[in-house]
């Protein structure tokens, strides 16, 4: 029989909501790292040196092929043996940011590949430098087709933040675990965590779709 205690629910809600701020912060910061680093990784794969390009590809494949939770453990517990000691927050942000950067670089790569060859040739015929060609011509056109994929990974990174609870980042899952350990009640905290995740993920996905449409119109692509 379901034994839902409303009074208990109201008591723990403020604590969970304040942990939600940390979850959003973790997802946001991790995503910011991923968005920038992912673009760097995508661009590094397009250099003239085939060896360099291949090495970057291998690194991306390695990151994509190992579990995030393992990478988090490595950065937090193993890195100190090499003299790199990071706080749970920094270790968490870094691992999640790098992990998602590997995925986002593939999204960008697809977006960049979707820009027609003629655009590059027109840029060359105007004598634009490679850097300007990327930042003024190619990336603005690569972005709209990348937005759907980028949005998926924003929701993905948000849903993966509970992994950070394993190294003690005080996010939502960590708070729910603590409440359970203190009170031996698990139904309410975990249910609330699910509802909070849902309440943030669903509108975010809708917002991303709206943003994608806005961006296309803004860039005159539709």
């Amino acid at each position: 029989m379901l034994n839902w205690d409303w009074d208990f629910t109201w008591t723990i809600l403020p604590r969970l909501l304040s942990a939600t701020v940390n979850t959003i912060l973790a997802a946001g910061l991790g995503y910011a790292i991923a968005v920038v680093l992912g673009l760097v990784l995508a661009l590094l794969q397009r250099t003239r040196s085939p060896i360099f390009t291949a090495s970057v590809r291998e690194i991306i494949e390695f990151v994509r092929s190992t579990p995030l939770v393992l990478q988090v453990f490595f950065v937090f517990y193993v890195a100190p043996q090499f003299g790199i000691t990071l706080s749970p927050w920094v270790a968490g942000m870094l691992s999640i940011g790098v992990h998602y950067a590997a995925y986002l670089s593939e999204v960008y790569r697809g977006g960049i590949d979707s820009v027609p060859k003629g655009q590059w040739e027109a840029a060359t015929s105007l004598n634009l430098s490679t850097t300007r060609t990327y930042f003024r011509i190619v990336i603005p056109q690569a972005l709209p087709p990348s937005l759907a994929g980028m949005g998926n990974y924003l929701v993905g990174i948000f849903k993966d933040t509970p992994i950070l609870s394993v190294i003690g980042v005080a996010e939502l899952m960590h708070a729910a675990n603590s409440i359970g350990a203190e009170t031996y009640r698990f139904l309410e905290p975990y249910t609330l965590v699910g509802i909070i995740f849902l309440a943030i993920s669903l509108p975010t996905a809708a917002l991303i779709r709206a943003f994608e449409g806005w961006m296309r119109r803004k860039l005159g692509l539709t």
Binding site: N127, R132, P140, Q141, G220
Partner: protein, 273 residues
């Protein structure tokens, strides 16, 4: 290419009547396919040369190698007396580096069959992009120059439209203005009317005619519009298998072609119309 073959090419073309564009024994291969076969072609300053020929004869490749979109396998291309595909290391020609290509490219402008306007920029922004970001003009100067050119091609009233809102003919006219905004010495037109609906071809050919009559630009054009080529060219080159099979004034080439292949091509084209 070996150094010996380089040595037979001058470091720069000097003297009177240096051609604006000079292909010297230029060969371009795609794998085993020879697209340009030891091509020699000179274009004088201010001359309008039209290249015609069957598909695969290397017409477009001439323009693409000149724009440095494609590299060449052999020979040297000179523009304005200086080597384009190569540069001097003091005593001999060596393949050009990026820096040299960028310097030389500024002399050349190109319009494409499918326009290739930047879709995220308005007509005006398309024209201003190069002048601001390559030539280093102020926004104000670039805007004035671009607006004047858009007026010249009859697109002043559409300057704030994105390409997706423009017809093919309008897009091509903006593309011509965009190329001219860089003040090139040589303009290349690669089948600029081939992707257009018949009723708008005239608005693009009209702009090119105006350029020929009012500006002292050197122009190379690849086209299938034989009537247009006959009207505006100083010289017409018939290409066949990567070489010039026959060339002459429009009246000579269209009115009295000497070579059998030229005659065959021209009669085939006339039948198709």
């Amino acid at each position: 290419m070996t150094d010996e073959t380089h040595a037979s090419f001058p470091l720069r073309l000097e003297g009177a009547n240096v051609p604006m564009v000079s292909f010297r024994k230029v060969t371009k291969r795609y794998g085993s396919l020879v697209v340009l076969d030891s091509l020699d072609l000179d274009v004088a300053e201010g001359e309008m040369v039209t290249i015609i020929g069957p598909s695969g004869s290397g017409k477009t490749t001439v323009l693409r190698t000149l724009m440095t979109l494609d590299s060449i396998n052999d020979g040297v291309i000179y523009v304005d007396g200086e080597p384009l595909t190569h540069m001097s290391d003091g005593t001999k020609l060596v393949p050009a580096n990026q820096r040299h290509l960028r310097k030389m490219r500024s002399k050349i402008g190109m319009c494409f069959q499918h326009f290739h306007l930047f879709p995220h920029m308005t007509a005006l922004e398309n024209c201003m992009e190069g002048p601001v970001n390559v030539l280093g003009l102020s926004k104000k100067e670039a805007r004035e120059r671009s607006e004047e050119l858009l007026r010249m091609v009859g697109m002043a009233d559409k300057r704030d439209q994105h390409p997706s809102r423009l017809s093919g003919g309008q897009q091509q006219r903006v593309a011509i203005a965009r190329a001219l905004a860089m003040r090139p010495k040589v303009m290349l037109f690669d089948e600029v009317t081939s992707a257009l609906d018949p009723e708008v071809i005239g608005e693009v050919t009209g702009v090119i005619k105006k350029l020929v009559s009012e500006h002292n630009l050197t122009m190379l054009m690849v086209t299938h519009q034989m009537g247009f080529a006959r009207q505006i060219s100083d010289r017409v080159s018939f290409f066949y298998k990567g070489r010039i099979e026959e060339q002459g004034t429009p009246d000579e080439l269209f009115g009295d072609p000497k070579k059998e292949r030229t005659q065959q091509f021209l009669s085939a084209v006339r039948e198709a119309v």
